[in-house]
Amino acid sequence: MALAERPSEGRRSAPLIHWIKSILKTLGTIAITMLGLLFVTFIIGRVMPIDPVLAIVGERASQSTYDAVYQQLGLDKPLLVQFGYYLWDVLHGDFGNSLLNARPVSEDIARVFPATLELATLGVMIGIFLGVPLGVIAAVKRGSWIDQIARVVALVGYSMPIFWLGLMGLLVFYGILGWVGGPGRLDIFYEDIVPTRTGLILVDSAIAQDWDVFRNALSHIVLPAALLGYYSLAYISRMTRSFMLEQLSAEYVITARVKGLSERQVIWRHAFKNIRVQLITVIALSYANLLEGSVLTEIIFSWPGIGSYITTALLSADMNAVLGGTVVVGLIFICLNIFSDLLYRFFDPRSK
């Protein structure tokens, strides 16, 4: 009996061990990826032709001031030692202070990232809610005028410079029609009214039930979100169309039609169901790109997000800020990858 029970215990513990192994493997991958990302960014930051000391002290500082700051930043130590110190601090949750504005980088990121998160989330939602149906319809009505329109919409989305489109949008909808709020997240008069809980103004104002602030925030975000959503839509709709065309030509679709299922059932319950996994990848990629921060959109709309934060930091040789931002962006990609994997398992039993 004892011998007979052993395999059964082994079978019970096998999934647990597998699960632990899987988690350890994922954590290991995350750690190696983050380490590599940090190392590469750190080295690039040190070799690029911008002097972080000069950026702080200005070109007219005396040599003694320059030297003092040079040592203060630890630049007199070997590169690997500098990286070691930095890594040690990061492992203790300390990204250091911004070299330029003297604030903790973590505080800066906590301030700018929610602005990007809010904008990107709304943008990708627009992309999904309009892009997916448009792609499906374009595939179903292949060659029709709807398909042509979808193609033009996507083409314009791919090829139009976001800078120009953003300025035109501002000019028409804000400058001329006055339908939306101008650059910035809020009108001046609404700033600092609702307490910051999440940093997402729409959410914070809804929690505070301050609907004036909510409406104002909405009027400011709608245009940049629509702009980002449009670019997201262009990508998502083209990919959806392509995935759907592949499914619609499959034999099981013909079988379903022969069985007499309605066209709606064939499209949405059979064909669409089978492109969900691919779509998740497309959407996750699109969302991750938006979460990196769209620098040009942020500049045009004076949107204090992570894209312009990292760019400004990079151009000013504020490497603590650049590295902190890089870690966040890296984590976003990793988290979205893990989330996609989980969704795969949910939608596609084979991947379990």
Binding site: L54, G178, W179, L218, S302
Partner: protein
């Protein structure tokens, strides 16, 4: 229509209603001033450390100084501020300031001579970038206890030489002269940093405004000080918003969401100037655009070649095209509005004259390199020069690089020609005379990288001594004449081709009055603004 479709339609309608309900033309409240500006250069708010434009704007409004400029009459020069009056000792080395009674910091603490002593000593001890503005008078961390001394209601500063009083007082109007609240600052002292870390992001002043918030790259919000000794400011709140894009600033101004746009490009200035309810204000700023010739170069060091270059700049052509409205022709090292400034601009674009000078020098087929930092207007100036020099047979190769690349070579005296900009550090003529016309030791070993004359390997001849003499001249009129004389000689003999002085064009809503960006000598001030 199924539930999903109903939901989508409802959401779309709701969004449209919510958004379009804000379509009315906005207008800022009458007691609030909203400014769009690029404020991403602010790195610290500590007056002992701040050395950037946007940071100086904040400091000017938050901190008082011993002496200060009246924004309504900048030409009048420095005026009493925290110091009610001052006396100069017979030997000209000591100035004793009588501190004004009844002033209070935003914290409620009184402004005393001890606070002034603390502030000035602190700036010298911390020795941050702008400290040279004070240490050039011989103050050191070791001697401040003897040279900056409060006694009751007075403060005495003692310099190492009998400098011109105007020189010392002009320097005290700089940001580094800001008076901080000793008690508040020392409550935040950390490891003996004299509150430096805390003051980077907080303020402790007694000026017309106190700081509400500074969100880097986002906004600065100031609240009026109702107890300000010159009267409570009409603008109770001032918000400076970071708006990077000129077109975005223009739209905000046209819609009435801001009162002042400070960074419009020439096209947007032209566009907005015809808009009803908007006006343009021009103010001369201190930045000069210049070209300099390295005197180590055997050909460029010939007097005729130096002179020829001054005739090979298309001053008017550039001013009227890509620099339109942003720069004015100015061929002297002191910006207009400075004490001793000269408005003599004797050079004009004259290829024939330049050719004759080059022939006289026996120069032909010259090939040189110019270093330019990657800024559009500088590159365009370089291209214009390249074209002009080509007409006299000089090949000029343009090297565009980052600040680090170009400045490193300029400081190492390696560039043949440098094309760049220079802005004064403090509102006294010495700030520019002491770098353009001053070079006591031209040897490589001197390594005086802070001096522009040294960077160009130029032995200034007698101008160094004349500059030394001007900083100790106490008669202000005589002093101004001395600088005019120095500049006259400089124009003719120096390897510097000073070309343009910057103009700042601000666009304002028509109801905004008395707004001042401080011209070339100081920063923006808000307490006098009305709407």
């Amino acid at each position: 229509m199924n539930a999903f479709n109903k939901l989508l339609t409802g959401a779309a309608l709701g969004l449209a209603l919510a958004v379009t309900s804000t379509s009315a033309m906005a207008e800022t409240p009458p007691n609030m001033l909203v400014i769009a500006n690029r404020i991403d250069d602010i790195t610290t708010l500590d007056p002992a450390e701040s050395f950037e434009f946007a940071g100086s704007d904040v400091s000017r409004n938050v901190y008082q100084k011993l002496v200060n400029f009246d924004p309504l009459d900048l030409d009048a020069g420095y005026q009493p501020d925290v110091a009610e009056s001052w006396d100069v000792s017979e030997d000209g080395k000591s100035i004793t300031f009588k501190i004004r009674e009844g002033l209070t910091f935003h914290s409620g603490n009184s402004v005393t001579a001890e606070d002034v002593q603390f502030s000035l000593r602190r700036a010298i001890i911390l020795n941050k970038t702008p400290a040279f503005i004070l240490t050039q008078f011989g103050f050191t961390p070791e001697n401040v206890e003897q040279t900056i001394v409060a006694d009751g209601n007075t403060l005495t500063i003692t310099t190492d030489k009998p400098y011109a009083t105007s020189f010392v007082l002009n320097c005290l109007t700089a940001t580094i002269g800001g008076i901080v609240d000793k008690k508040t600052v020392m409550e935040h002292d950390k490891d003996g940093d004299l509150g430096n870390e805390w003051l980077k992001t907080n303020t402790a002043g007694s000026g017309a405004y106190s700081l509400v918030s500074w969100k880097p790259n986002e906004s600065v919000t100031l609240q009026s000080n109702p107890d300000f000794y010159l009267g409570a400011p009409a603008m109770e709140r001032v918000v400076v918003r970071h708006v990077q894009e000129s077109a975005s600033q223009r739209l905000l101004l046209e819609r009435g969401d801001i009162d002042v746009a400070r960074n419009l490009n020439p096209e947007d200035v032209a566009g907005v100037s015809s808009v009803a309810g908007v006006k343009i204000s021009d103010e001369l700023k201190g930045r000069l655009m210049y070209v300099s010739l390295n005197q180590k170069h055997p050909e460029l060091s010939k007097p005729q070649v130096r002179q020829a270059f001054k005739y090979l700049i298309d001053y008017e052509g550039m001013r009227d095209s890509f620099l339109k409205g942003q720069y004015t022709i100015h061929q002297n090292f002191l910006p207009q509005t400075y004490l001793g400034a000269s408005d003599e601009n004797p050079f004009s674009f004259n290829v024939e004259k330049a050719k004759a000078l080059l022939d006289e020098a026996g120069v032909s087929g010259l090939e040189i390199e110019v270093g330019v930092r990657e800024a559009q207007e500088r590159i365009e100036i370089a291209q214009s020069m390249q074209n002009a020099l080509g007409q006299v047979g000089i090949t000029m190769n343009i090297t565009v690089g980052t600040a680090k690349q170009i400045l490193a070579r300029y400081r190492a005296r390696e560039l043949d020609v440098y094309l760049g900009a220079w802005g004064p550090d403090y509102p006294d003529p010495q700030t520019n005379a002491g770098t353009f016309a001053y070079n006591p030791d031209n040897s490589d070993a001197a390594n005086a990288t802070g001096l522009l004359a040294w960077r160009n390997s130029w032995d200034t001849g007698g101008l160094t001594e004349k500059t030394d003499a001007a900083v100790v001249e106490n008669d202000t009129v005589k002093r101004a004449d001395m600088y005019k004389e120095i500049q006259a000689e400089f124009r003719e003999t120096s390897p510097f081709v000073v070309m343009f002085q910057q103009i700042e064009q601000s666009a304002l809503r028509e109801n905004v009055t008395d707004f001042s960006t401080g011209q070339a000598i100081t920063s923006a001030s808000y307490w006098q603004v009305t709407k």
